[in-house]
Symmetry: C2
Subunit: 281 residues, 2 copies
């Protein structure tokens, strides 16, 4: 039996990404296990208790999800695939609720802030912070009143048997979260167009420029690059980057050895074929 | 009279940065004006109602403060200086309070999460989310009970006449926020070692590599680089970057014209002498 971990509860966007991955790869006999924190999730796969994890790394509106990506540093797991989830928030209530009976809408603070226009247009509804989107739907189903609703995904509302009071209430119509599907290092052979890396350069002037010249030299196209603070060394940075290696004719081993020359810490965070092309606006 | 704007209330880290800037430059006759949102703050200086603003752009633990930096895009203001504030949270209560009488500690959610070890060690105190750190001190001073405390800066606690119940309770001992001091474009002449830029490259393969080659060519050392999503174009990016131009002998005008060749949108976000060197760990 295969065990796949995610952060949250059934109906969360992470769990939906997990289910899509399972169906796309026709995986049989999978147990999906929800964790209350990203750290617990990553610890569990490192400790050998999980085969895969599904973890959000980027949002089309808010960019790199630093609080999760930072946790992937100095770990021994790699992304073997990616999944995109369109983030569409629905307002969910009890059977007897109508939008006019609702005075409080519960959800994760980030989801609430993604729906600021909805709240501006419905001043009788107060936004109430809750642990996460799917859990707020669970809460309404179990203990809610006709005055309380949850902002959560379509799947979460349906899963907890709630009534749809409003659809796609987020302010940005195109709002997508990207997930990595990650496995323990030692269990996979890496292949695919997109190479995801975390690199700390040597502490010398021009080190980042040198690093980037390696990719240019070997025809690896830089897709994105984000500086992240190194813990305990204020205002020094490591770099998360994704490069497209499909045009490169250089053996991977040579690329790797050359990168090592200009790096203090060099870590493959993933390699997979891009699902990105279809998602670009 | 000079008007300088910031987000928050007196005693906030932003307002403290403002006061330090004022003292360092011996500015007389300054009115400091607090705003409830970063957007309102930036709108006010663009509309000509403020001479300067003070705005946080980076934290040593959490990195780029994307929600503020993103607001600086496509605006006509530039950073002319920077300021670093050590973020040390104190627990503040009423005169009759002791740490054992406290059952609730109020602060901004980010500040609360920076003190997770303190809450783990004091399980009788519940973390309560509040609008911001200094406002939570104001709230305790005005309406608090001996069971309620605020997590806020030393200055905020003193300003609102509170009693110090615990000092430096944040988990990370070195926790620093960096601020830009910004002025309207047309009012300043730019000079200094650090050049802060926001650039959207042309939508072609290798555009980021070309851009970075310009800096290498002209001996501008890349200090940091962050990809941020472009609104309405999911998974396309603009880049915030800071380069050290002190070693470059190329006229600024030539650097600029060359950057224009590889950019779709090119914006100077600031130029100033670095206060960074002293802050590195």
């Amino acid at each position: 039996m295969m065990k796949i971990g995610y952060q949250g509860v059934p109906g969360s966007y992470s769990e939906t990404a997990l289910q899509e991955y399972k169906h796309a790869h026709k995986l049989q006999d999978v147990t999906a296990i929800g964790y209350s924190s990203f750290k617990a999730l990553i610890d569990e796969i490192e400790d050998g208790h999980l085969d895969l994890i599904v973890i959000p790394v980027e949002n089309s509106t808010t960019g790199l999800i630093a609080r999760t990506v930072d946790l992937l540093r100095y770990r021994s797991l790699v992304a073997i695939d990616e999944n995109y989830q369109s983030i569409q928030h629905y307002l969910w209530g009890l059977e007897k609720s109508e939008i006019n009976t609702i005075t409080e809408a519960y959800s994760h603070p980030e989801a609430l802030s993604q729906c600021d226009t909805f709240f501006a247009n419905h001043p009788h509804i107060t936004a109430k912070a809750y642990e996460d989107t799917a859990k707020s739907a669970q809460f309404i189903a179990e203990e809610g009143s006709i005055h309380q609703a949850a902002l959560a995904s379509k799947r979460a509302g349906e899963l907890y048997g709630l009534k749809q009071l409003a659809a796609s209430v987020q302010t940005e119509s195109m709002n997508t979260t990207r997930f990595y599907i990650m496995a323990p290092n030692e269990k996979v052979t890496l292949k695919g167009d997109i190479l995801s890396l975390y690199i700390e350069t040597k502490h010398e002037s021009g080190a980042l420029a040198k690093l980037l010249q390696v990719f240019t030299l070997f025809d690896c196209n830089m897709e994105s690059l984000n500086a992240r603070p190194i813990a305990g060394k204020p205002f020094t940075y490591g770099f998360f980057m994704e490069v497209d290696v499909s045009k490169s004719t250089v053996p991977f081993e040579l690329l790797w050895q050359t990168l090592e020359q200009v790096s203090e810490h060099l870590q493959v965070l993933g390699r997979f074929d891009s699902a990105l092309t279809n998602k670009k606006g």
